[in-house]
């Protein structure tokens, strides 16, 4: 187990380094100059040169990337010259909003989707199973930004039930502001997870140990909840771990449409303005989140399935 964890940590560090380096060379390969955007049209070439120097852009690329990793070892993500603030401050004040959006979206999607998937499997080919199937495909097919626009028009503009923008202040206010964005980000996952759980359940329910349980006279509810579901949920856990990247990209659209702060909106703005230190900081943090979530998914799988645990 400890060796497994060590291997994962080494792998995680390698993934982060590779992702950051790849992005670093990509953003420098495309045309664009932060000085042109940040200083505006009246900046002279001397002013731009000064900004390049302050941002370290006058140095060779390899020195720049080495400097970034050296700073990272000291917990320094760099400095945003324009706002005169450390990148870490900027990134970490936005990160909680994205994390809360993703966690709430996943949570409600799983809470709704798993019972739907189980019910569909147990009542296979029933009318409700078919309805759930149609709903699932429908929610997967509609892009989250389209869903976001209609959710705004219906629940905020039309009915006036929920706020259209922002994140709110205080617990209850924040919760209310989360309803629509989380609905939009999570709804596709309801369809996806329910289909996944249904398929896994159907496979598990046909296995020998389930037939054995039935022959012992155990109730169907107990068989599903105690013996089938823990195994049927494994692919879902794996998918949710990998799905973190997908959720982050959905969060980008949702943060823009709902004018929410967050790492997605921050990244988009930083890429547009070629604010390299912010782009590097956000990519580092999101890559780290992705690695953590996939590792967690693997560990949860191991905890749920003794066969996997033995192989670690």
């Amino acid at each position: 187990m400890w060796l497994y964890l060590l291997r994962r940590v080494v792998l995680a560090v390698a993934i982060i380094v590779a992702a950051v380096m790849l992005l670093f060379f990509m953003i420098h390969a495309v045309p664009g100059d932060p000085a042109a955007v940040l200083l505006g049209p009246r900046a002279t070439p001397e002013m731009k040169a000064q900004l390049h120097q302050q941002m370290g852009l006058d140095r060779p690329l390899l020195i720049q990337i080495a400097g970034f990793f050296a700073g990272l070892l000291h917990g320094d993500l760099g400095f945003d010259v324009f706002t005169q603030r450390p990148v870490a401050d900027i990134v970490f004040e936005q990160l909680p909003y994205t994390i809360e959006l993703i966690l709430v979206s996943i949570a409600w999607a799983v809470i709704v989707a798993v019972p739907l998937g189980c019910y569909s499997a147990v009542r296979r080919n029933s009318v409700i199973d078919k309805l759930i199937g149609i709903m699932a495909v429908g929610t997967i097919a509609i892009p989250s930004f389209v869903m976001a626009i209609y959710a705004l028009l219906i629940f905020s503009v039309g009915l006036g039930w929920l706020p259209a923008i922002g994140v709110g202040n205080g617990f209850s206010d924040r919760l209310v502001h989360l309803v629509l964005p989380a609905l939009v980000v999570g709804i596709g996952w309801v369809g996806y997870v329910s289909r996944l759980v249904r398929a896994s359940m159907l496979e598990i329910l046909g296995e020998n140990h389930i037939r054995m349980a039935r022959s012992f006279g155990l109730s169907e509810k107990r068989i599903v909840a105690r013996y089938a579901l823990p195994l049927a949920i494994l692919p879902t856990v794996t998918i949710l771990g990998v799905g973190m990247a997908h959720l982050l990209s959905a969060a980008v659209f949702v943060e823009v449409v709902f004018a929410r702060p967050g790492i997605g909106a921050l990244t988009v703005k930083a890429v547009d303005s070629r604010n390299y230190p912010i782009v590097m900081g956000t990519v580092l943090v999101t890559t780290f989140l992705f690695v953590i979530s996939t590792t967690l998914a693997d560990l949860i799988n191991a905890a749920l399935d003794p066969r996997i645990r033995e192989k670690l």
């Binding site: 001397e46 929920l162 617990f171």
Partner: protein
């Protein structure tokens, strides 16, 4: 809100939620509005971007200046209304002594927060001179500023090296005109340089009470302010980047003042949201099709003229702005000194004449490129131009680019892409003086911001002369000639100044905006329901 949080348990939450929900539904108030309801008179307004610079000496972008207007004082400020003009703010008097000397006398009793003392002429001197001393990117606003002479604690003289008329229109009442505390800035920065997002002291009617990046800017009354009190106790500015989201936020009651897109103007004019006043304001932006005069395909002026005449501007505006934008006659918007009454090429162009120019150039089967920003409006403009040029046998390839890439296309310092640039859909912002537009088209700017690589000795002469002339009619003559020169070069086809419609809830606010629609929050007045 904190008290609610600290006392909150599940039972309380459910109970409170049920009670609150019931009460709101009974009162017929949308939940979204109920949540934002706050104590006192609170203005909630949209900004198209979050603040990122609060040092007026190094200001960038209008959304920062909107906030600076509230938290610092300046000698003069823009007057709200439909005509450009200024009025006194921190100054009791400001007078032009001679073309290079401007004397000001400050009002007494204006103080900086945090025990940084009274606002004096010494602070004015410090605020203005630091822009030059620290080589600020916006030092051009101060033009030929030499220094500020102090006569006493409240009186000073701004001394210019050469006359600079735009100072009255774009410097004193705008970004660089704000006054900061010398004592506070020196304490905070050591050398008096850029203090970024951390104002060390305030001198306006409001203070920056809270700033949650990408959430809101909260301005509260300055308790030490001794001048006339503005109407609202609190101003909450919400950064909403997407204009359509801003429209939805207004409709749902989350904000009470916003600008909105031109393509929604017809809809909102026809059926505005309840208790809403819609105002159409002409913007100062200028949008045009530029042509690289040094590109081999466009070197011949006849080819450029063919393109000018083939472009039908009203058709473009119908497609890109839903017909809600007016045709531009040049780069200077109506209402400003230097506005040109008529363009040389009629807005509709003339296909036959365009073909004649092309024949004169002896060109056939021409393929060109057009670069534009990755925004719907600009890509639509490029596509319509593509269709129009096809009528005279020119094939146009549209290159859509993100802002980081787009804004360096024509810069020589950014590589050799300027050599490949041919046509471009260009849009520049403006402040209310024609100098701000024309200064980018002089020969010194070739390869910097003059991407069309337009060169004219006469243009440069007029540009230098026009900033020294007081008489508006005389200035207009010069700027008209300059715009004629630009158009005669064949490198420009002016399209529009767009427009900046705004709307506000008449039950909450009586809004006050500049002639171009930018909010002047200090002049906003609350309306009792």
């Amino acid at each position: 809100m904190n008290r609610i949080r600290s006392n909150l348990d599940r039972r309380t939450f459910l109970k409170a939620g049920a009670t609150l929900g019931g009460a709101i539904i009974a009162a017929g108030m949308p939940l979204s509005q109920a949540i934002w309801a706050a104590e006192g008179k609170v203005l909630k307004a949209r900004s198209y971007s979050d603040i990122d610079k609060l040092d007026p000496g190094f200001y960038q972008n209008a959304y920062n200046v909107d906030v600076m207007n509230c938290i610092y004082s300046k000698l003069t400020r823009y007057k709200p209304g439909s005509e450009w003009g200024w009025e006194l703010e921190a100054a009791e008097t400001v007078e032009q002594v001679d073309p290079t000397h401007i004397r000001f006398r400050l009002k007494k009793g204006l103080a900086f927060t945090g025990n940084h003392g009274e606002l004096t002429a010494k602070d004015v001197k410090f605020s203005f001179e630091r822009v030059i001393k620290h080589n600020s990117p916006v030092k051009g606003d101060w033009g030929p500023l030499d220094h500020v002479e102090l006569e006493d604690d409240y009186t000073g003289v701004i001394v210019l090296k050469t006359p600079f008329v735009p100072l009255w229109n774009i410097t004193l009442p705008y970004g660089c005109g704000h006054i900061v505390s010398e004592k506070a800035v020196m304490q905070a920065t050591k050398d008096g340089g850029d203090f970024g997002m951390k104002p060390p002291a305030f001198s306006g009617p409001y203070v920056l009470a809270d700033w949650k990046p990408n959430q809101y800017v909260q301005l509260a009354r300055n308790p030490e302010w001794s001048g006339p009190k503005p109407g609202f106790d609190e101003i909450r500015i919400l950064p909403i980047g997407d204009v359509k989201t801003a429209e939805r936020a207004y409709q749902s009651g989350d904000i009470d003042f916003t600008d909105f897109s031109l393509d929604s103007l017809a809809t909102f004019k026809k059926s505005p949201p309840e208790n809403t006043k819609v105002e159409e304001k002409p913007s100062l932006y200028y949008v045009y099709i530029g042509m690289n005069t040094e590109h081999p395909n466009l070197k011949d002026i006849n080819v450029r003229k063919a393109i000018q005449w083939a472009i039908n501007v009203p058709q473009i505006l119908d497609a890109a702005y839903s017909g809600q934008a007016e045709v531009a006659t040049g780069m200077v918007a109506p209402g400003l000194v230097g506005h040109r009454e008529k363009a040389l090429v009629p807005p509709e162009g003339d296909i036959e004449k365009a073909k004649e120019f092309l024949a004169k150039a002896g060109v056939s089967d021409l393929t060109l490129t057009i670069d534009c920003l990755n925004e719907n409006t600009f890509s639509t403009i490029a596509e319509v131009v593509q269709a129009q040029l096809a009528q005279i046998g020119i094939t146009l390839q549209v290159n859509v680019q993100d802002s980081g890439s787009f804004w360096t296309i024509g810069m020589e310092s950014e590589g050799s892409r300027w050599k490949d640039m041919q046509l471009i859909v260009q849009r520049f912002s403006m402040v209310p003086d024609p100098y701000y537009a024309t200064c980018f088209f002089v020969r010194d700017q070739v390869g910097v911001w003059n991407w069309e690589r337009f060169r004219s000795e006469r243009f440069d002469e007029l540009n230098a002369k026009a900033v020294t002339i007081d008489d508006p009619a005389e200035r207009t003559k010069l700027y008209t000639e300059m715009q004629d020169l630009l158009e005669e070069s064949g490198a420009y086809r002016f399209l529009t100044h767009e427009g900046s419609p705004v709307m506000y809830r008449t039950t909450k606010v009586d809004a006050a905006v500049r002639p171009d629609g930018r909010p002047l929050y200090l002049n906003f007045k609350p309306v009792s329901a």
